[in-house]
């Protein structure tokens, strides 16, 4: 309708120009003049709607990103406490490095800072200022450098998540003592530590090095990130070749008949199926029939392959279609076989479009949780996966699990993990744009 009007207007305009001095032309021009203001207004309004739509979506995006960054940026720093650890030979000797009571070393060093904590109850509260992760850290140190035994060293250890929250201001001071997780006594001790220069905020390397943990200060995204990597590797390795092969056959070789129409309709339909359905399919086929291991990134990759295949096939077919027929005809004309035509000429020209499709499909796969629920990848996994069959989880699942945890320190970690996921998605989309620009050819 709108289109038809425009065409009519344009025609009228052309007529006016061709007959500038005709007697009837004056009337037409006057009519145009009269309507001109209204047409300009219409155009301005139309543009304004577009602009408003963009402004609204930018605003939503800014609010979303703003709230995530505002909540999450503090997670990249972590409170640490300086302890003078005495590697007591009475506790440690070369033969018991794996089983020694490292927690006792930490506890003893902590209590030395607070001589006024005399009662058992007080000592327990004081020891709680330091994360249980400190003991694991000492174990690592001593195992790699046994000569430390007997020495006393100042060591920065990670503080408990509640101390961290308190120092960052997420636990308010101005509420009655019974209502916060940090008591007045602990607050006073923390202030003392800060005054003595024994408290610092350091880069939270644990967040990028560790797997999941129930202690927020020890939790990291490495495990989930590796899981995502393995899963996506399987997905890419399977869905790209299969998708491209299917697209090439359908586009270049398949006869046009009811059968291929049916296949095409089905592929388009598959692209719109809710992803949880693929999870159920994966459960039935890969776990129950083929007896593949539960929670493995291999199975996750297979399920996501099923999910991304239609996207890749559709994108690949579109980019094959956009290769001009003259290229094919020229190649065939100088004697190339059909396979040569496709492999040497059509595919390289269509490749940027196919890759863009693949990367967008991958980006979608990176953000999926629903199909993974069914195959057991929504799980607590501490050990970082090292192979395709190790139990693994993925980044969005990690975000979901942390968002559901009661500890307050997981709030900022949830947002930080979202930031990492968004950065990855951004990088993938940027790669898609770059690839397209680099290899795209215009005719």
């Amino acid at each position: 309708m709108w289109c038809a009007n425009t065409v009519k207007n344009m025609n009228r305009h052309a007529e006016d120009n061709s007959r500038p001095t005709g007697s009837g032309g004056m009337g037409a021009r006057a009519r145009v003049q009269a309507g001109l203001a209204a047409r300009y207004r219409k155009e301005r309004r139309f543009r304004l709607f577009g602009l408003a739509a963009i402004a609204a979506s930018l605003l939503f995006l800014a609010v979303l990103l703003g709230s995530i960054v505002a909540k999450g940026y503090t997670a990249f720093w972590q409170t640490q406490i300086l302890l003078d650890i005495h590697f007591d030979p009475a506790v440690l000797d070369v033969n018991n490095l794996a089983t020694a009571n490292y927690a006792a070393l930490v506890r003893e060093a902590t209590l030395r800072l607070f001589p006024q904590a005399a009662s058992r109850q007080d000592q327990r509260t004081a020891a709680k200022l330091v994360s249980t992760g400190a003991a694991y850290r000492l174990q690592e140190m001593v195992t790699s450098r046994p000569e430390l035994i007997g020495a006393t060293r100042p060591i920065w250890v990670v503080a408990d998540d509640e101390v961290d929250m308190f120092v960052k201001g997420h636990i308010p001071r101005d509420v009655p003592e019974s209502e916060r997780r940090i008591s007045d006594k602990q607050a006073a001790w923390i202030d003392r530590l800060a005054a003595d220069g024994r408290l610092r905020q350091a880069f939270n390397a644990t967040f990028f090095q560790a797997g999941d943990s129930r202690e927020p200060e020890l939790a990291g995204i490495r495990g989930a990130a590796m899981g995502s990597l393995f899963t996506l590797a399987v997905t890419l390795a399977l869905s790209f070749p299969i998708g491209v092969a299917a697209a090439v056959y359908l586009e270049e070789f398949a006869p046009k008949n009811r059968w291929t129409d049916l296949v095409e309709v089905n592929i388009n339909n598959l692209a719109a199926i809710p992803s949880i359905v693929f999870g159920l399919l994966g459960l039935a086929v890969f776990l129950d029939c083929m007896h593949l291991p539960r929670s493995a990134s291999l199975v996750g990759g297979l399920v996501l392959t099923l999910m991304t295949l239609p996207t890749i096939i559709i994108a690949s077919r579109a980019s094959l279609k956009s290769v001009p027929p003259s290229i094919r005809e020229a190649a065939l004309g100088i004697g190339a076989s059909r396979v040569q035509t496709i492999v040497h000429h059509v595919l390289p020209l269509a490749m940027p479009g196919m890759m863009t499709g693949a990367i967008i499909g991958m980006a979608r796969a990176l953000g999926e949780t629903a199909p993974l629920l069914m195959i057991g990848m929504v799980a607590f996994i501490v050990d970082i996966p090292h192979s395709f069959s190790d139990p693994a989880t993925v980044l969005p699942v990690q975000i979901y699990l942390w968002a559901d945890s009661p500890e307050r320190a997981f709030v900022e970690r949830t947002s930080a993990a979202i930031m990492v996921l968004l950065l990855l998605l951004l990088a993938m989309n940027a790669a898609a744009v770059l690839l397209r620009n680099k290899f795209e050819r215009r005719w």
């Binding site: 390795a237 607590f380 069959s389 559901d404």
Partner: protein, 350 residues
């Protein structure tokens, strides 16, 4: 470009041929499934176990109690879970499913208690509720306020309508959806009890149990009860934003957010470690883990994992599970359960 395509194709072929070889023929870690309520506690034990022993850290899936027991009962063998978390005792029907699939030896271990709390924002006053008040405020059909045996659609708009001692605030309760174990426990412990306060409904229990359940356990759908999803953090945030509303969720979320929200007393008892453990607080439920005895000795670390769970430093009064919000069992019960975990005494078929 061609080279890339060829490499990818080769990789795909390789991956395709590797699949059958990877089938689960051995497993060197413990696999646990089940309730999302027990999940925070089992994961804490698993992490401690993984870090302090030579065994791998167990893998724990949060599937819900029903889904977990379904997987657990699917059979014996490495591709089935070893342990199931449950926020309610196993049902007879589930034991039968287990038996049908060859799982006869199930060890039941109670690990502690969980309180379900009703809480509102600190900005509003603390509420003193009884289970009868809650039934009248939340049930879809209630006995007519004019008296008589007739049931009418719930006419109460404010808490004051329900009980003159309560504030004149609109009834607005945020709670879990029907798929949640917390919801099951809530309707059983609060609604059933509250509606049994009316003799004409209590009489139903003996004659028509089904009708009794329907009358007691159906919650209002007119906006007074709002299903707020499974995420308890979300409920806490909503309570803060809207001080007039009351939320239903697990005790550990109250424990972590005591600076923002306060619990309502139910039948005169506030939810605290002590009142929940000794059974005074009425809305508390036991949490369980179910262990497949056939897997002990086959999957490395099973016995050691159970020993860690049943140790005093884990589920004891000062243990790290109490720190996470699990309510410890009384001493003698703890001893009995630790013994069960050690000897692996199989459940007697009910």
């Amino acid at each position: 470009m061609q080279k890339l395509a060829r490499t990818l194709a080769a990789a795909a072929l390789l991956a395709g041929s590797a699949i059958p070889a990877l089938a689960a023929d051995g497993r060197d870690y413990i696999s646990i499934v089940g309730s999302s309520t027990v999940y925070p506690f089992t994961t804490a034990v698993a992490e401690q176990f993984g870090k302090t022993t030579k065994f791998k850290t167990p893998k724990i899936e949060s599937t819900g109690t029903g889904g977990g027991l379904k997987l657990f009962c699917a059979g014996v063998g490495v591709d089935t879970p070893d342990v199931a978390n449950a926020s309610r005792p196993i049902k007879q029907s589930e034991i039968e499913t287990c038996a049908k699939n060859g799982v006869f030896q199930i060890v039941e271990i109670k690990v502690g208690y969980d309180g379900i709390v009703l809480a509102n924002s600190k900005k509003a006053g603390q509420m003193q509720l009884s289970r009868k008040d809650l039934y009248l405020a939340l049930a879809k059909d209630v006995p007519s306020p004019e008296g008589g045996d007739r049931l009418v659609a719930n006419p109460y708009k404010t808490w004051k309508d329900v009980n003159p001692k309560l504030p004149a605030e609109k009834i607005e309760v945020l709670g879990p959806p029907p798929t949640s174990g917390t919801r099951d426990a809530f309707v059983e412990m609060v609604m059933d009890h509250g509606c049994a306060a009316f003799p004409q409904i209590k009489a139903l229990q003996a004659t028509d149990e089904k009708k009794f359940k329907a009358v007691c356990q159906t919650l209002r759908e007119d906006g007074a009860y709002i299903e707020a999803g499974e995420n308890d953090n979300l409920i806490v945030q909503k309570l803060e934003a809207n001080p007039r509303s009351v939320g239903i969720f697990g005790f550990s979320f109250l424990d972590q957010n005591a600076d923002k929200i306060q619990a309502s007393a139910i039948d005169g008892e506030l939810p605290e470690f002590k009142t929940i453990a000794d059974g005074k607080y009425p809305v508390a439920r036991p949490l369980f883990i179910y262990v497949k005895k056939d897997h002990v000795g086959k999957i490395p670390g099973m016995a050691e994992f159970l020993a860690e769970f049943a140790s005093d430093r884990a589920w004891g009064e000062q243990g790290y599970l109490a720190e996470k919000g699990l309510i410890p069992m009384p001493k003698d019960e703890q001893k009995a359960m630790a013994a069960a975990a050690k000897t692996l005494s199989v459940m007697v078929n009910k």
